[in-house]
């Protein structure tokens, strides 16, 4: 499988290449005692995009938009119903096991580790199953253990790990064989703030230092903000947006929400660059542009009002996408 240089260059630019990829599911629904109604669901409905080698891309969309289906097609789990799909020049559906050595996959909702066995047993098995050279394995494991803080967890059965610990264990497992591309399906779902930060920092370093191509789906826009220059939005199986995150904010004009608890009930606060969207007793909700920093706004409120507590809510993807639709409808 020697590539000529030009072929390798082409593969690098089109490392992940989708052309009109479709996935249609036949869904049977019981409508009576023995009657079943069949109808088709287009989970992925003609998606085209390219991801060059070494890029880190966010793939977002509401539940059921087709994100996971896309990842399953990229990893070869599912066979596309139509279109053309290549990863590193290889058709994943046809050469699933061969491609498996070159990719890493992390499913946020379920572990790829052996549930009843200590973490280190899973890693040892990966070592042999992926035929990782001994030195590489030792180096990679050391590095993951150090950066992901796994030292004390190696001898703990996976089922006893907390969600955050397990996720870090899963990420390490996906990287022991030096994959050229890493797919992360909701890698920060359910994690606390500290775990999220650890995972994000690790992924950022991985991409910067090893040049690993990363495609991640998420519900958390902060993941994208901190990790990805490029974001793709999918909804109803179609690609709605493909570009920088900043552009997405412009498209959606999304807003963050500042929730403030005041000492007492007050009329809606009056501050620049934010508007009160809801008042409930001493608690008020203020919307401000997602691109703006919250710091000056906070300073302004704290200076003029008796502030007790506060929190900032990120715009959720559903809201961003809803805005996208609304804008598209008016323009």
């Amino acid at each position: 499988m020697e590539h000529t240089e030009t072929a390798a260059d082409v593969v690098d630019a089109d490392f992940i290449a989708l052309d009109g990829v479709e996935k249609i599911f036949d869904v049977r629904r019981k409508t009576g005692f023995l009657r079943r109604e069949r109808h088709q669901v287009r989970a992925v409905d003609g998606i085209t995009f390219r991801v060059p080698r070494g890029e880190m891309v966010g793939y977002i969309g509401p539940n059921g938009a087709g994100k996971s289906t896309t990842i399953k097609m990229l990893t070869g789990i599912l066979t596309p119903s139509g279109g053309r799909l290549r990863v590193a020049g290889v058709d994943p559906a046809r050469e699933r096991t061969r491609l498996a050595r070159r990719i890493g996959v992390v499913f946020g909702q379920r572990t790829t580790l052996w549930w009843d066995l200590p973490l280190i047993d899973s890693y040892r098995l990966m070592h042999r199953m992926y035929r990782i050279p001994d030195r590489r394995y030792a180096e990679n494991l050391d590095r993951c253990v150090q950066l992901l803080d796994l030292g004390e967890l190696l001898d703990v059965p996976v089922r006893q790990l907390s969600l955050g610990q397990r996720m870090r264990g899963d990420i390490a497992a996906a990287l022991l064989h030096d994959p050229e591309v890493l797919y992360l399906d909701e890698p920060t779902i359910g994690l606390d703030v500290v775990s999220k930060a650890k995972v994000r920092a690790f992924l950022r370093d991985l991409n910067a230092e090893s040049g690993t191509t990363v495609l991640l789906t998420t519900h958390d826009l902060t993941d994208i903000e901190q990790l990805c220059k490029r974001v793709m939005v999918i909804d109803h199986g179609r690609l709605m947006y493909d570009g920088p995150l900043a552009g997405l904010h412009e498209v959606g004009e999304s807003e963050r929400t500042l929730v403030v608890d005041l000492e007492r009930e007050l009329p809606p606060l009056e501050v620049e660059s934010a508007r009160v969207v809801k008042v409930d007793g001493p608690r008020q909700w203020l919307a401000f542009p997602a691109a703006a920093s919250a710091a000056p706004l906070l300073a302004a409120i704290a200076a003029r009002y008796p502030l007790v507590d506060l929190s900032v809510r990120e715009p959720d993807i559903e809201a961003v996408i809803a805005k996208m639709y609304a804008d598209r409808g008016t323009s």
């Binding site: 080698r53 096991t97 066995l117 047993d121 199953m129």
Partner: protein, 290 residues
């Protein structure tokens, strides 16, 4: 993690898996690695393993006690005396025990499809069948094999048979082919669970149920059942056909006597069919999801 640039040779050359021979080799390799891991982890708690293995042996031993109990009341069962029934029982228990030990965890496939953990096996560079078969490998199931061997050992010494070399040879052939036939049933059952995810009970009816059926002589069952077990789900080839030849008994369906020597062929055919069924099941999963 090294640079993942194009200059680094990818893992493509080593261990490519293209032909069916390569796939079988890869599968066996993965199976060996995964079972070795489970055995290691089982033996890490030696005392606990010894206890569960003994418990397993006792439980299966009670199973044969039921037959002994029956013979304390009657001298013959369907025209067969105790050593003869023990011979059939031991052969079936051994063959089933080996299959159950090797790939008995396959009836969990439906659950894996339901909860989506099957996907995690599909992204590993090893055949899924091997991974599913080796999952949760339970060495304690050795208890059933040991019990079967003990009963068979007793039967071989007690039974009134004129042992020709052919009959002696037929005994190990029967056990190995029988295990192969049962494994095929396990795999077909698992393949069916790709389509019907809660069919593990249906599978159990054929595996555990089939085993129970074979522990008695065919003469105690109706002709239709025997016919089904011979031609439909050919578990009769596990021990009835070769076993009755060894015992010098006629097979109820009046099959020619050479049929007693076909179990290896039947086993190979069953395994080939099971392999096809598995491939069809996996393909349907990959085109429909769960």
């Amino acid at each position: 993690m090294g640079p993942a640039g194009p200059a680094r040779p990818s893992g493509l050359r080593e261990g490519t898996s293209d032909g069916p021979v390569d796939r079988v080799r890869d599968g066996l390799r993965a199976y060996r690695m995964i079972t070795a891991m489970w055995i290691r982890s089982t033996l890490a708690y030696r005392a606990s393993f010894v206890m569960t293995a003994l418990g397993n042996l006792t439980a299966t031993a009670l199973d044969f006690a039921a037959i002994l109990l029956m013979f304390s009341q009657v001298d013959v069962l369907g025209g067969y005396r105790l050593p003869e029934v023990a011979f059939l029982y031991g052969a079936a228990a051994c063959a089933f025990g080996i299959a159950d030990l090797a790939i008995g965890s396959m009836d969990r496939l439906g659950r894996r499809v339901r909860d989506g953990t099957l996907d995690t096996l599909l992204v590993r560079p090893a055949p899924v069948l091997a991974q599913v078969a080796a999952d949760q490998f339970a060495l304690r199931r050795l208890g059933r094999v040991v019990q079967g061997l003990l009963v068979l050992g007793y039967a071989v010494t007690a039974v009134d048979v004129d042992w020709t070399p052919l009959k002696v040879l037929l005994v190990p052939v029967m056990l190995v082919s029988g295990a192969g036939i049962f494994m095929a049933v396990f795999v077909v059952g698992a393949a069916f669970q790709f389509v019907a995810q809660d069919a593990s009970e249906v599978q159990n009816a054929f595996t555990y149920g089939g085993n129970t059926l074979l522990q008695y002589p065919p003469s105690v069952f109706g002709k239709d059942l025997v016919r089904g077990a011979t031609f439909l789900v050919p578990i009769a080839f596990v021990n009835w056909l070769p076993g009755l030849y060894v015992l010098g008994r006629p097979y109820p369906l009046g099959l020619p006597s050479w049929a007693a020597f076909t179990p290896p062929l039947v086993a190979v055919a069953c395994c080939a069919l099971a392999g096809l069924a598995w491939r069809a099941g996996l393909r349907s999963y990959r085109s429909t999801g769960s």
